[in-house]
Symmetry: C2
Subunit: 222 residues, 2 copies
């Protein structure tokens, strides 16, 4: 076991990163089957054949796009959450960082949504398990963090007793959909979701909602 063995840095050829940048944006907006390698090649200033020198198949490009993106998400989120803080503070930090990442990396929400909804790749020779074990590893780490926080918060009486699984589903849906919803979403909030002012508004609305739900203190009679 050599010294610097943890998080082995993937050394990528400049062309590889250019391909992944181009492919990421295209896969996000049109999905796996909706993207042709001719377009990826053209926008990468390469020929189609050169893509196959760097990646053995289209599916391999897709898997690499997801892996790179989710690794970045985890590496952004992991160090910014203070695990010794109280549950509300931790939750707010997670919402801030998660939302901030979606805003800074506009392909993330759509790709994350697709990676859960789609089954395209199953026809393409790479099994769901293989694909999930490449990028899904990082997603599991993130979720584990939220689950741990919820358990602690419920034990301490800070959070209401509830199903952690359902809460995670609600939280993911609420945070991701907003940034994946494109023109629909910008219509709902009166302008581009990715505008910095609206991103901050989104964080505030989410945190208030998590704390209080929909009700006012006054009208809270069941």
């Amino acid at each position: 076991m050599s010294a610097a063995a943890r998080t082995p840095e993937v050394i990528r050829h400049p062309s590889q990163d250019r391909i992944l940048d181009v492919a990421e944006a295209l896969f996000a907006s049109r999905g796996f089957s909706g993207v042709g390698l001719a377009e990826v090649a053209e926008k990468s200033d390469l020929s189609k054949s050169s893509l196959f020198h760097h990646f053995k198949s289209k599916t391999e490009i897709y898997a690499s796009v997801l892996e790179r993106l989710f690794k970045r998400l985890w590496e952004t989120l992991e160090p910014t959450v203070d695990m010794s803080a109280d549950p509300w503070t931790q939750l707010n930090q997670i919402v801030d960082v998660w939302t901030g990442f979606m805003a800074d990396n506009p392909n993330t929400a759509k790709l994350l949504l697709r990676s859960m909804v789609e089954r395209d790749f199953e026809d393409a020779g790479l099994s769901r398990e293989e694909l999930l074990n490449r990028h899904g590893r990082y997603l599991r780490l993130i979720i584990q963090k939220v689950v741990t926080l919820m358990k602690a918060g419920m034990d301490a009486g800070t959070f209401r007793q509830q199903s952690i699984g359902h809460f995670v589903q609600t939280l993911i849906g609420a945070t991701i959909f907003h940034f994946a919803s494109g023109e629909f979403g910008s219509g709902m909030i009166g302008g581009d979701q990715f505008d910095p002012r609206r991103v901050e508004a989104r964080k505030t609305e989410l945190k208030n909602f998590l704390r209080s739900g929909l009700g006012s203190a006054a009208g809270d009679s069941r």
Copy 2:
């Protein structure tokens, strides 16, 4: 103007409905570009050419699938919400019916998500506007209902003051994602999302969350 002019019933040939049933399930799981008409034809017990007798193009099939589904959703939701009831009751009714529809029509959540995230059809000759004006009409009616309810609830002091647009985004994300998330979601809640017991649990968790947020009465100190 003849007598029975409202909600003109679309008369469809049995084959047309069979095609739409098959196409609906396929488009939901693999998206517009991910589905080939050969498979649609085979599973409809027809030849590919017969599809083109009933629909002028693949895009037309996709648009018809969405239109039929969203029309059903609106017609299910519209009469079941008692507009004279108090805001909490109305909101709970909307959550119950909406969630129930997603559970009874398992393709809805995925198709709704896709219709907002994807841009496939733009390459296929039908503009976003044309497509949205076919099925989007019903979606707008539904959202209008929620917006009206929120305004009334906030004016009455029943609901906390907040951005209605952000609330709608949160609500849609929270309700749709759960039923679109496939194996990921069933992993989160320990079994099939569409199992009737878990559907009821989902409704309850959502309604509690809307009312109280995450916090307990005890730990609610900001």
